[in-house]
Symmetry: C2
Subunit: 205 residues, 2 copies
């Protein structure tokens, strides 16, 4: 399954909105605005204008502004969990699986769906506590993919640090790339960036 096929399967299962529909288009624009200006500084008027309607019309699709934020986050996790699982299945060795995860997460953050991933990380506090709990449940599935790979590496003796700590450090390091890495810049490619991360990490020999 390639990226487009994964997306289509998720749309068919109603886990992700069709980006061609009204809801999908709004969520895409919302993710971009939330990332650029932050959730609090983005007004419902901004959101409506981005899809060419009046602010009152938004509330036909979503009951509250916060519901939009939550939808962005939920759909982002569904999509990226699917992408992550596919990436890890293809790799054959422990180290290759780790590399595949790093590559996939860098792509999620800096690729087309990157706005939404950044929102997930940096707008967490703007979500109500009940919504946070809901999104956290979905996020746990995503995190488990990472932890399984890291725990296997540790068991093989390829990793000396604690898998939980390693994952958390990588979460911070990889999500932070959105603030400085510019894939268009011609300099470092996503593969090159992945190489750099792997080169930083210790694998006992």
């Amino acid at each position: 399954m390639n990226q487009a096929e994964i997306l289509n399967a998720l749309i068919a299962d109603n886990l992700v909105s069709d980006p061609k529909g009204a809801r999908g288009r709004l969520l895409k624009e919302a993710a971009r605005l939330f990332r650029d200006k932050g959730y609090e500084r983005t007004t419902v008027r901004d959101l409506a204008a981005a899809v060419g309607i009046q602010s009152g019309s938004l509330f036909h699709h979503f009951r509250t502004k916060e519901e939009i934020l939550k939808a962005v986050m939920v759909e982002t996790i569904h999509l990226n969990t699917a992408l992550l699982k596919t990436a890890v299945e293809r790799a054959q060795t422990g180290v290759a699986r780790l590399r595949a995860l790093i590559r996939a997460e860098l792509e999620s953050i800096n690729g087309q769906t990157g706005e939404a991933m950044a929102v997930l990380v940096y707008e967490w506090r703007s979500l109500s506590e009940t919504s946070q709990a809901e999104v956290l449940k979905l996020r746990a599935i995503y995190e488990q993919v990472w932890l399984d790979v890291l725990a296997a590496l540790k068991a093989e003796g390829q990793l000396s640090a604690d898998p939980f700590v390693v994952r958390r450090m990588l979460t911070g390091a990889l999500s932070w790339t959105i603030t400085w890495y510019r894939p268009e810049g011609g300099g470092l490619s996503l593969d090159g960036l992945t190489d750099q991360v792997m080169a930083m990490m210790a694998f006992p020999r």
Copy 2:
């Protein structure tokens, strides 16, 4: 110079407000509130209540709410640059200097001044562009301390990845600890956490 002496020297130079004075107390509370609720969700009424005055009285000390955010950031950089420089001066080898920097930054983030460091990282977008430029100049001094140590390590052949990329990855990884690391928890100490970061990193042998 220990931590208290460094702070006193900065207060004497008017680079950091005395935490016993009105301005210093407000900035301390502001940092805590901005970290917990975010800058946008913290009202001037919240800020005033935290130091026991009415919201109108705030504007005798600061012209705008944003000026408070900027002051938090500026004083935080001054303090932590001084702490970082002191930490690196004490270490004797390249790897020891890197360890000292990691330890110092983890302490800045998770110690007493941690709220302010988190504000610096996560509320950046709330600062006006002109203020951003000003704070960025100060931040560059802090970053240069890191880059000098990493470049020396690279020259020694102790580091295979690019120093700029390594620093950025560490920025993300270390600042992210504020979201999950709980020093009081009894589990991992700051030294233990530093060990984990060092254990993750590759130093060619």
